[in-house]
Amino acid sequence: MKKKGLLIILIVTFSVQSLFALTANQIMKKNDALKEPRSAKSLAVMKIYRKGRLRETKEFQMLSKKVGTNTRSLIKFIKPTKIKFLTHTYKGRDDNQWLKTRSGKPKKIASGDKGKPFVHSHFFYEDLGSRELHDYKYKKLADGTAAGADCYKIESVRKRGKKVYDKAVLYVRKSDFFVMRVDFYKKGKFLKYLENHNIQKIKGILTPKKTVMQLKNGKGKTIITIKSVKYNIRVVTSTFNKRSL
């Protein structure tokens, strides 16, 4: 009788688990469903380390706004050189980008290769670009931990658009579906990983105040630290017009 009771409990437990176990697609949909702010303004510092030494420090102000289904972004590099970089990101087609040096006029620039390092850091352009949920296929792996949090592990392979990596493994925190870590694989090998730290909720938005991209071989890393951030501020759309740079 006692054994029967235990069996019932186990059956119920397993049934409940399988009933509520999320698939990879469901997890990523939950991640994707997290709302985005209408606008944001932040100040960040990027430190680039190579062979254990700090080699470059860059400071920049970032401003972004959603305009319809598109995103407009303006980055003002403050140190070491003063340069403005404006981007209009569109769904389903290439971005438009303009650059303005301190003294120059706004200049249209080419998008280039997303598989290249971003400002000599360990981020590739691909790492930082927006991700369309349906451009990838997902597979759930065994659960894991990242930065001390229990996470779902999801393998992600790009199925549309240019493929920079063979695959990426995302560590999605179980408690809130926030991505804590990403392992990147290229040419069949584990290349590098990204980890988010010091995650704070600012106006309800989970914001990592520190993000680290580290090479697997330990020979280099890039740390981005947000010094200040403000969401849903009033930003006039004309700020993102190339004529007003």
Partner: protein, 464 residues
Amino acid sequence: MNGISEYLKKIRFFTFVFILILALVPGSSLLAQESEDGDNEETEETEEAAQAWKISGYVESENFLMINPNRDESKGDKFFNKIENHALLDLQYGSDDLHGRGVLHGYVYPTGNSGHLSNRLLVNELYIKWLTSLFELKAGRQVIRWGTADAFNATSYFSPMDISEILFKDDDELYLGVDSLSGIVFFGDYTLQLVCMPIVTTSKLPGSGSPWEMRYPNTVIGPFSLPVSFQDADSGIDPDWKNISFGGRFSGTINSLDFSVSGYHGIDRNILLYPTIAYSGVIPTSISLSPIYKKITSFGADFAYAISDFTIQGEGAYSYNKKVVKKDIDTSVPQAQAEIKETGFINFSAGVNWLIDGEDFSVTLEYMRGDYLKNSDDYYDPFFNNLIVGSILKKFLDSSIELELRGMFNTSDRDWLIMPRAKYDFQNGFALEAEGGIFYGDEDELFGVFKSRDIVRLRAKYNF
């Protein structure tokens, strides 16, 4: 020339920087996302002051040396050694939407130096900017540069150029601010900009005594071969209401194509060099060239298109009333002077930027030319014409080392200028740079006239 590749030094370096926004601010990527459970758990929000001073700039110390051992001192060539200490201070006070901004240049030369330049302060920009969602207003001294080409902008009607020193000036020294009122109206991805310039600022040419002084071969008028000199390099233009200049530009972006159409009525930014003939009785003895300023009406268009690793750009302008100097002088008339005529004129430039290996290896090319639409043989050619401008830039060691070869080739006379450059960037704002300027051609040609004035510039620069 330095401005030609100003962008290209940075283009790839900062290409895609935008993604950081997408990454570090919410939602779209891996680095920041909004929680499902609302905003009731806010833990931190910091903000920089809405009203604040923003200060940036640079300090540089430069040594210019004309090193050509074949200089001809009988023609005015001399050993030229100039040290120039230059600081730029860029000050802004206010918010992004409403602020005042000043860009100041200070130049200091060695005490007791006998060179032609003296210590000076130049306020190149000083304006108030007010930006709203519908319009932008800028009042005061400001640099207004239109067009998409890298080197020669046919549609940049307003800001004149300071080419008192031919080489080694960065864009922020090359383009002069103009005292004007500028308004931009925003219509989505389109804009209409209107500019009124009540008082015209003129371009600067090398003055007499400058190592870059223009030298011209003797000019034959009738049976006489006359020496030519250049005068009044700094002469300006009267603040007469008749000289008020204004223009407009309609711009937009469709897919990956930027385009503009523009118009202008006012003083021609391109200086007209007028030859005044001196006479002894009825015998012409010499010619002095002096800059004069005439009105022009122009219509232009420009475009830029980015595809893959290439950006293609071009622009052109047409004027039906370009003022030109007629070559032939009627020597039968006593004390005859050159005539100024009006003609149709079209000029354009087209070029490409190619990022071969992103920020680390790039090539840029541009071609420009201008043509009088009627009787072109009767008039002196435009100062710059039929030029190919190019640059190859390669960076090493994570951009610490930059090597660049720039050049200009005059397809009409086949004379040229090449400018090799090497730079070490310490990645902390400090950089050391060496650059040369080598001229080739005959003495009556655009670059050939400087062939005995090859120059080297050494520079230490700190950006802050």
